[in-house]
Amino acid sequence: MNDSHYDSNTDMIAIIDYGMGNLRSIHNALDKVGGNPVIVSDNNALLKADADAVVIPGVGSFGDAMRNLIPFSDRLFDLADSGTPLLGICIGMQVLFDRSEESDAAGFGILAGDVTRLPDGVKIPQMGWNELTIHRNNRDSDMLAGINDGDFFYFVHSYYCVPEDKRVIAATTDYGVDMAAVVEKDNIHAVQFHPEKSSKKGLLILKNFVEMIKC
């Protein structure tokens, strides 16, 4: 867990540390699947890092997350525009959208759509293992290679993303509503669950992401 050095010969994954939680799990998980994760704690570090991929991990609430992510925003937009693979996890997925009911703060708007509260009638937050239904309507997702309908992933969240363009939805999960669990658009990838807490299948998704960078 050191942001000062990394092996420049392998593809480097910058994990954005926006000061709201522990990043040990996501770091360990990317390390475990053969990635080269480096935790970056400010925009300068992100500029210097010359990242081959970026992970926005999932901690905290939408408003707090956006407030702490703003200093990274110019570089994040550049990386997103330049085709660098980006993976948003949980709240790190939600901030990619335009806005959330949870906060007045605007999201990055890299993906078009809203973030809305889980419906009445289910326990909020959703906390636990739930199943994916994979949508293969457009193309096969490299990130979901080896993942099957009915595979379980670990969720902890009270809000969910509603993309404007339904074609970006790669997989859904049913929790009182059929909600987007995996969203992919070009180099932008996002998951509502925590792959770093989803045992073997979660590691497989991270491994697929790491392999994707090498291509």
């Binding site: 522990n22 799990s25 937050p125 293992w129 739930n130 807490k197």
Partner: protein, 270 residues
């Protein structure tokens, strides 16, 4: 659909080098079951949904040893990890989270200072705060208590603390409701009457609490076989079941328990 969770509990004796998982917290005789992170990896292979590490001595001094156990575990085990026993203040919780824990469970410290629940929830999120309740049946009708009808007569449930050595006079149902309002994310509910007996979970206790709160309840205490877990997850609103000794010595695997649950119509992650 959300799966019901199966949670092996690793009772850790941190007085020995690296810590050991032990069997029989409330038995006199302690048997060593293995190195904590090795057992954790085994439970991951078997399909456990979550793990709880309890410091059975609840020793403040040994929180660094527990931190090492969690650090070591989180290198290879990728599922939610809870640390309990000896969490007395926010700083203890922070030590646990920095080592790789996702949740901490509090019992005695929360009964003495309920604001600890609010503080953990505020700084680390509701999902990070597990309230542990050790409850004992008190037979007879008492004014102001949540009275429950059981085959053995009417009773209410009293919270204990200090590892079951002292009683509080606090009604477990009322405490659970208060803990939810204060921001607890899970309730880990142990029946003191059943703990260590292998006679099955206290169904009436689990019903009384899980029908009174909207947060998930983890049933604990008394598990002797997979059918006991089936019974408590089928007949109550518990979201998860915890067991220790049936897993530690290979009596049953987590997979065998889940097959029993699936065949009994309970939705589990296979």
């Amino acid at each position: 659909m959300l799966a019901k969770r199966i949670i092996p509990c690793l009772d850790c004796d941190l007085g020995v080098a690296h810590g050991r998982v032990v069997k029989g917290v409330r038995f006199k005789q302690i048997r060593y079951a293995g190195i904590p992170w090795e057992l954790a990896e085994e439970y991951d292979r078997q399909g456990a949904d979550e793990l709880i590490f309890l410091d059975i001595t609840a020793s403040h001094e040994r929180r660094e040893t527990m931190a090492k156990v969690i650090e070591k575990t989180s290198e290879n085990v990728f599922m939610p990890l809870t640390v309990g026993g000896g969490i007395r203040e926010l700083a203890d919780a922070r030590t646990a989270f920095n080592s790789g824990a996702d949740k901490v469970s509090v019992n005695t410290a929360a009964l003495k200072n309920p604001d600890l629940i609010n503080d953990i929830a505020k700084y680390f999120g509701n999902q990070a705060c597990v309230l542990a309740i050790d409850a004992k049946r008190r037979y007879g009708r008492e004014h102001g208590r949540g009275i429950v009808d059981t085959p053995d007569g009417e009773c209410w449930f009293e919270c204990s603390f200090y590892g079951g050595r002292e009683f509080t006079g606090i009604d477990a149902v009322q405490w659970a409701i208060e803990a939810e309002e204060r921001g607890a994310g899970d309730i880990m509910l142990t029946s003191m009457d059943r703990d260590g007996t292998k006679d099955g979970f206290d169904i009436e206790l689990t019903k009384a609490i899980s029908d009174s709160v909207n947060i998930p309840v983890i049933a604990s205490g008394g598990c002797g076989n997979p059918e006991h877990i089936l019974e408590v997850l089928r007949d109550t609103n518990a979201s998860a079941a915890l067991a220790a000794s049936i897993f530690h010595f290979g009596e049953y695997t987590v997979g065998e328990v889940k097959e029993c649950l699936r065949d009994g119509g309970v939705h589990v992650r296979m």
